[in-house]
Amino acid sequence: MSLRAIEGAEPAATTVLRSPVEHRLLAAGAQVEARGQWRVAFGLDGEDAFLETVAFADASHLAKLEVRGGAAPAERPDRAVVEVADDRWIVLCPWEQRAATIAELGAGDRRLALDLSGAWMALVLAGPQAERLLRRLGPIAQVPGSGPIAAVPGRVVRRGELLLVLVAAEYAQHVWDVCADLCLPLAGGPAGLDAVTRSHPDPLLAAS
């Protein structure tokens, strides 16, 4: 099936969208509330203490847009661009901006720009030991870059002091569990995105 077949497909207004790691977040003591169509977790146990070493947060409620062909999409304060191949990118933006972003990126000689938010999981690594956690996760030569993350294909970009990791959604629970295991000896753990953006303000993450 061509990706064109799902171009313009929209979730129904009543559809509740959930992170692929929502039950992991609930198990970590998170509260969940509806923000737009997404159920977003916040208030995890011990998250402020974890942020003093290393914390990882789920950012699945960001829109993740598949863009192919044409020139590389421009970075903006509220937009992250992850290169997947020479002519293929994943653009992350706040969920409420996805339609406008698709229209903007799909203009001109672009071959494809469509919403594949459900196909990817975005994970934010924060804290002074974030680089160390990334090294433990896999051999990423440089950031931005790509390589195995917890032994599955992953991409990493930098957002100020934060690291934004992108993996396929089907690996989300696995990567989450590996992060939790690797954080334990570093006195780190899971955090809500609200706590991360309180300590590391970011227009992309804070807008959600």
């Binding site: 433990r136 896999g138 051999p139 030569a141 390589g147 195995p148 294909p153």
Partner: protein, 85 residues
């Protein structure tokens, strides 16, 4: 079976201190849509010398590349980084 790995930072250290990170393939890119997946899931299964990534998890916590003979576990060299020298 254990063997010694020459870490560029820590010297010769026993293999159990390290985590294996896969071999560095030399297949021509482009046969799959995602080169990263190709490198990760399609190993060359070489009988002989190959470049491999190892993570010194109980040492310097750095990724290194070594050249190992898969038939004998003889490691001839080690380099810093994650790409083949």
């Amino acid at each position: 079976m254990s063997f010694l790995i020459p870490c560029p930072h820590c010297g010769n250290r026993p293999q159990p201190e390290f985590a294996y990170g896969g071999n560095i393939g030399d297949d021509p890119p482009g046969s799959m849509l995602d080169v990263l997946s190709e490198d990760l899931y399609f190993n060359d299964n070489t009988a002989g010398e190959q470049f491999e990534r190892w993570f010194h998890r109980f040492g310097c916590e750095r990724w290194i590349v070594i050249r190992r003979d898969t038939r004998t576990n003889q490691v001839s060299e080690g380099w810093e980084g994650v790409d083949a020298p």
